[in-house]
């Protein structure tokens, strides 16, 4: 026999242990526990294989409200019969009055007595016809009522007959469904009971009171817990998973020596498009694609504006430019930034040449005028990076990108040609998804064109730049299929969401 098993019995289990041979009501009475506590303790004992419970649903026939009353005072027909036994003949109205029965009871009584041929009705009078023996014998119904409560399935044919006739009358009989629990003690249970150890004292909880006196606990045993039983879960506070991921990216960039840059979400078209050599009739500059705000702002210093105008109109450093008339008013229109590259442009324009070489990064929300579905949204996160310096080249661009994506968990990265108005060469970054076995597109990179760098830096200097989207990486990590779930703020989902383990 297992000592540990005995030590794991809870106080209630111990209390009922001596009475397991009794029925549940009796256990409850003897152990002084309510029925619910007894039932729970029985279940625990069953889990511990001390007893086996067999449950059966049974119909129990019981006395109804009137039934209990009649059980004490006698059935109405018995009361009427007793009256007639005294008076022999009575007028109907007199009989009802003297028997003190209700209309309903009175009618039912007459019916019942007539059926048994104990009375007759003659000229509005009740006449007793039964013999003395017949009168004194208890009826089947009376006998039946005395036996209640009974289990339905145990009723004899006569009892069933009585039940049927009584059921027609108001509230005499009540049939209740009950789950009957039969307890059978297992071999292990017998041993536990026999050992007598199951009822010994064990310390239940370590309380401050217990700790007051050493004698209260010294040398005593503690009730064992079932340490493996399932429990309700608890939840903690935490950062939103998107912010956990962006914080990680921040860490990756700073470890690589990048300095963070930030900027406004509302930008002028000048910084968002013009400074990035995006022609003013480029489709991205239509309301169809970009969120415009109906307001204009003043442009930055005249020298820069002039240089940007020149690079658009006729180019610089041997470039042909776009060959159109650049409109300053168009550049003043406010937009919600469509990429964080506008932050890079701003950083370059304000860069102190003494601080070159320099490396910067940004992570931020960008916007596009989109409808919302599982793969589209009007807000998305981008991570931006620029490296400014001498002797930088295309292979270095690929080097930084490969390293970053490796740290984001993508071992295999593919670069292929792409196009952006502000970079040349331009690169599209694909990462290999080892489970899905597909390349998936994460966004763009390149080396800023001289038409971009000359106005911003005053000279043609190599600037490596990239701005891949960030949301797809987060979605992939958290196995989110629907983009809308990124910012749904479903608290149940957020509570369950795992930490970004990188």
């Amino acid at each position: 026999m297992d000592e540990k098993l005995i030590e794991s019995l809870s106080p209630n289990e111990r209390k009922i242990l001596p009475y397991l041979k009794e029925n549940i009501n009796e256990i409850s009475r003897q152990s002084k526990l309510d029925r619910t506590s007894v039932l729970r303790a029985l279940e625990y004992l069953e889990n511990k294989k001390i007893i086996v419970l067999s449950r059966e649903r049974k119909k129990i026939v019981e006395l109804g409200v009137n039934g209990s009353l009649y059980h004490k005072k006698g059935l109405p027909e018995r009361r009427l019969l007793n009256l007639l036994n005294e008076k022999r003949i009575l007028r109907l109205d007199e009989a009802q009055k003297q028997s003190a029965l209700s209309d309903e009871e009175f009618k039912a009584s007459i019916g019942a007595l007539k059926k048994k041929a104990l009375i007759e009705i003659k000229n509005e009078k009740l006449v007793l016809t039964g013999s003395g023996e017949e009168i004194s014998r208890k009826t089947l119904e009376e006998l039946f009522l005395e036996l209640l409560p009974m289990e339905y399935h145990l009723l004899s044919p006569e009892q069933l007959y009585s039940l049927k006739s009584l059921e027609k009358r108001k509230d005499i009989i009540f049939i209740r469904e009950e789950e009957l629990i039969d307890i059978s003690i297992t071999k292990l249970g017998e041993e536990v009971i026999k050992s007598g150890k199951g009822t010994g004292e064990l310390i239940e909880a370590v309380t401050s009171k217990l700790l007051e006196k050493e004698s209260a606990w010294k040398g005593k045993k503690f009730r064992r817990y079932d340490v493996t039983s399932p429990l309700p879960s608890v939840n903690g506070g935490k950062r939103h998973f998107v912010n956990q991921a962006t914080d990680y990216a921040r860490k990756v960039w700073t470890e690589m020596g990048f300095q963070e840059m930030s900027g406004n979400i509302i930008q002028s078209s000048f910084w968002n498009f013009d400074a990035l050599f995006t022609a003013q009739d480029h489709p991205v500059r239509e309301m169809q694609d970009t969120f415009f705000i109906n307001k204009k702002v003043e442009l930055p210093d005249k020298k820069l504006v002039k240089a940007v105008k020149e690079s658009h109109e006729k180019g610089n450093d041997g470039s042909k430019g776009w060959g159109y008339e650049w409109n300053e008013e168009e550049a003043k229109r406010l937009v919600l930034r469509t990429h964080t590259t506008c932050v890079s442009a701003n950083t370059l324009a304000n860069l102190d040449k003494k601080n070159i070489p320099a490396k910067f990064f940004a992570i931020g929300k960008c916007f596009r005028n989109e409808t919302v579905d599982w793969s589209h949204g009007f807000e998305f996160n981008q991570t931006e990076g620029i490296v400014i310096g001498k002797n930088l080249n295309f292979r270095h661009l690929l080097g930084y990108l490969q390293e970053f994506f490796k740290k984001m968990g993508f071992e295999k990265v593919r670069f292929r040609p792409s196009y952006f108005p502000y970079t040349e060469p331009s690169v599209e970054i694909d990462v290999w998804h080892p489970e899905k076995k597909i390349w998936f597109e994460l966004g763009g990179a390149g080396i800023f064109r001289p038409e971009v760098t000359i106005p911003l830096l005053g000279e043609n200097m190599t600037v490596l730049a990239w701005g891949p989207g960030f949301d797809r990486m987060i979605m992939d990590y958290y196995e989110i299929k629907d983009l809308r779930n990124m910012y749904k703020n479903d608290l149940s989902q957020l509570r369950k969401m795992k930490f970004w383990m990188k």
Binding site: N235, G236, G237, K238, R239, N243, D247, W253, G257, Q259, E260, S262, I265, I266, D281, F291, F292, I293, N294, D317, K320, G321, L336, P357, K359, K365, N369, E370, T371, F378, E379, V387, G389, N391, L392, N393, F394, R395, H396, L398, G399, Y400, L401, Q402, R414, F415, R416, P417, S418, Y419, E424, P425, I447, E451, Y487, N489, D490, L491, S492, R495
Partner: protein, 564 residues
């Protein structure tokens, strides 16, 4: 973004088998293979290469790329024959000033070729043409036209012809009002007193660009052998490029190109011009930008793979390429020909010190402190709806920053986080309580962007949320004061259960000043940064929340400054 659909059988017969290697070559050419099946293949063409927007254009360049062809493909341009003339009338000057024209003869059209030509025309309209705003292309059966041709502008009611897809003669104005294509592009001519037209020597109208061709003279069929091609618009160099794209595709289909004489005032021009354009390419610039060590012979080979010619530092560029603005564009072509997959990525030693934005560090600390109190961070959109921002918070619409033509109900930038936090609670009434949430994020007021913190607990009361705020302020070591409101409180709080949150020891512009602040709000080195309180049942009702909510929102900008 534009895609072209190619017949797979034709591709495999004329270019090569579409195996995995070929799929990779297509991607590495800069034209990702979007999808393919046994019949067709869809290829994405980036906006810098409109010359690839047809099967023949793609094939020409791609054959060079995979080494089956070499260098610049030459096309013979025959001299104009008799009456191969287009007169450009001065009336078009302020309406649609330029055109570039050509004739191609000896064609054998079939269904596929006609489809390809119509298709590339539409794609050029859409991309380079900026939905026909910048340019439009017309192709006409020469047998139906009597040369020479005139390009002029007429009053809309004087223009009368039967446009394509109808059987009825219409005036210029009627076309814009009633014809489906006319209606679609009506905005391009709206408000102009005269509309541009091409007419032939018999004064038959060929077309009204950029809207529609005439049914009688503007539709090529399988019996057409000779065609007149025009591009009209506002940017002559681009018109020439597009004309070149179309005539070289027709030439690849078997046609012979003839030039035309354009007469404008006293001046004459000949189009098309298929003489290559020359641009210098410096070997050392190429190597230093790409991080390679190529010699001239290698560069020549790579340049030729991209469909150009190379001769002693000078590249001859095809006249259908629109993307060659600067030497760097040629260098990118070298890189593509070299193969992006062949570059060995390398991290250079650029010694710099990494640094996070101070704000981001503080934001993270705030989030950590609050997470320690079992509070969950939420993250909401920056755009919001008027309904959520104003109506549900029972406040007047004011200080709206609205975006134009939004495709959703999210049309304004959020002014505060509180309404979003309420929305989050409202959408989570079926989640387990208590609910404790916060958000740190950007809000927009008077075109100024600030970082705010909002926090709500439900069920809760004033005390609990104030305890949280005070704990946060102690942990950040930023002293705050909870004060009785002096002015009107935000409408969503219960009067008498709302406090002002005040930051003390704020550095003011005038440090010497000890007088009361402008709003009469105590010493001038104090600043109101937000409110804390219990949410009024009328607001809870608006959001269908059946639990008491307490909330605070503060502006973090001063806190950032103090901690910096």
């Amino acid at each position: 973004m534009a895609n072209i659909t190619i017949d797979r059988k034709q591709f495999e017969k004329e270019i090569g088998k579409l195996d995995e290697k070929m799929q990779n070559r297509i991607a590495m050419f800069g034209t990702p293979l979007d999808k393919f099946d046994n019949e067709t293949m869809d290829i994405e063409v980036f906006p810098n290469r409109p010359d690839l927007l047809s099967y023949h254009g793609f094939k020409r360049s791609f054959l060079s790329f995979i080494g089956k062809q070499k260098g610049l493909k030459e096309y013979k341009v025959n001299k104009p024959e008799k009456n191969y003339e287009v007169t450009i009338d001065s009336s078009v000057k302020n309406i649609r000033p330029y055109t570039a024209c050509a004739i191609v003869k000896g064609l054998k059209f079939d269904d596929d070729k006609i489809k390809e030509i119509i298709d590339v025309q539409e794609k050029l309209h859409f991309t380079v043409g900026r939905k026909r705003k910048k340019l439009a292309i017309g192709i006409y059966p020469l047998e139906k036209i009597k040369l020479p041709i005139t390009f002029k502008a007429l009053e809309p009611d004087k223009i009368k012809f039967v446009p394509l897809e109808t059987d009825r003669e219409m005036s210029g104005l009627q076309i814009l009002q009633r014809h489906p294509t006319g209606r679609e592009y009506a905005h391009l001519l709206a408000g102009k007193s005269k509309f541009p037209i091409f007419v032939d020597a018999d004064n038959n109208i060929l077309s009204m660009p950029p809207i529609i061709n005439s049914k009688n003279t503007g539709k090529i069929t399988e019996t057409t052998t000779d065609v007149f091609v025009e591009c009209s618009g506002f940017d002559f160099p681009i018109l020439q490029k597009c004309l070149n794209m179309v005539v070289t595709i027709l030439a690849d289909m078997g046609g012979k190109i003839y030039s035309m004489e354009l007469k404008e005032g006293g001046k004459k021009k000949i189009t098309p011009d298929l003489n290559s354009e020359k641009m210098k390419l410096n070997i050392s610039n190429t190597n230093s930008l790409l991080g390679l060590d190529l010699n001239e012979k290698q560069i020549k080979e790579l340049i030729e793979k991209m469909g150009h010619n190379y001769n002693k530092g000078v590249v001859e560029i095809a006249q259908w390429r629109t993307d060659m603005l600067h030497e760097v564009d040629l260098i990118e072509d070298v890189a593509i020909a070299y193969g992006y997959e062949n570059f060995i990525p390398e991290i250079p030693s650029v010694a710099t010190v990494g640094k996070e934005e101070e704000k981001e560090i503080i934001k993270r600390k705030i989030a950590e402190i609050l997470a320690g109190l079992n509070i969950l961070e939420t993250s909401n959109y920056h755009l919001t709806t008027k309904q959520d921002q104003f109506k549900k918070m029972s406040v007047q619409e004011e200080g709206i920053i609205e975006v134009e033509a939004s495709k959703t109900d999210y049309t304004i930038l959020r002014k505060d986080l509180s309404h979003y936090i309420m929305k989050n609670l409202s959408e989570n009434v079926d989640s387990e309580y208590p609910q404790k949430i916060f958000e740190v994020g950007r809000v927009f007021n008077n075109y100024k962007e600030t970082e705010n913190l909002a926090l709500a607990v439900t069920p809760s009361n004033f005390t609990e949320v104030r305890q949280i705020l005070e704990y946060l302020s102690r942990m950040l070591n930023v002293e705050i004061k909870i004060a009785e409101p002096k002015d009107k409180i935000p409408n969503w709080f219960i009067e008498g259960r709302c406090a002002e949150i005040i930051l003390s020891d704020v550095e003011t512009e005038n440090k010497k000043s000890t007088s009361a602040g402008a709003g009469g709000r105590g010493p001038s080195n104090e600043k109101l940064i937000g409110y804390l309180g219990e949410i009024h049942p009328k607001i809870l009702k608006n959001w269908k929340i059946k639990m008491p909510v307490s909330l605070f929102e503060i502006n973090l900008e001063e806190t950032f400054r103090k901690l910096n």
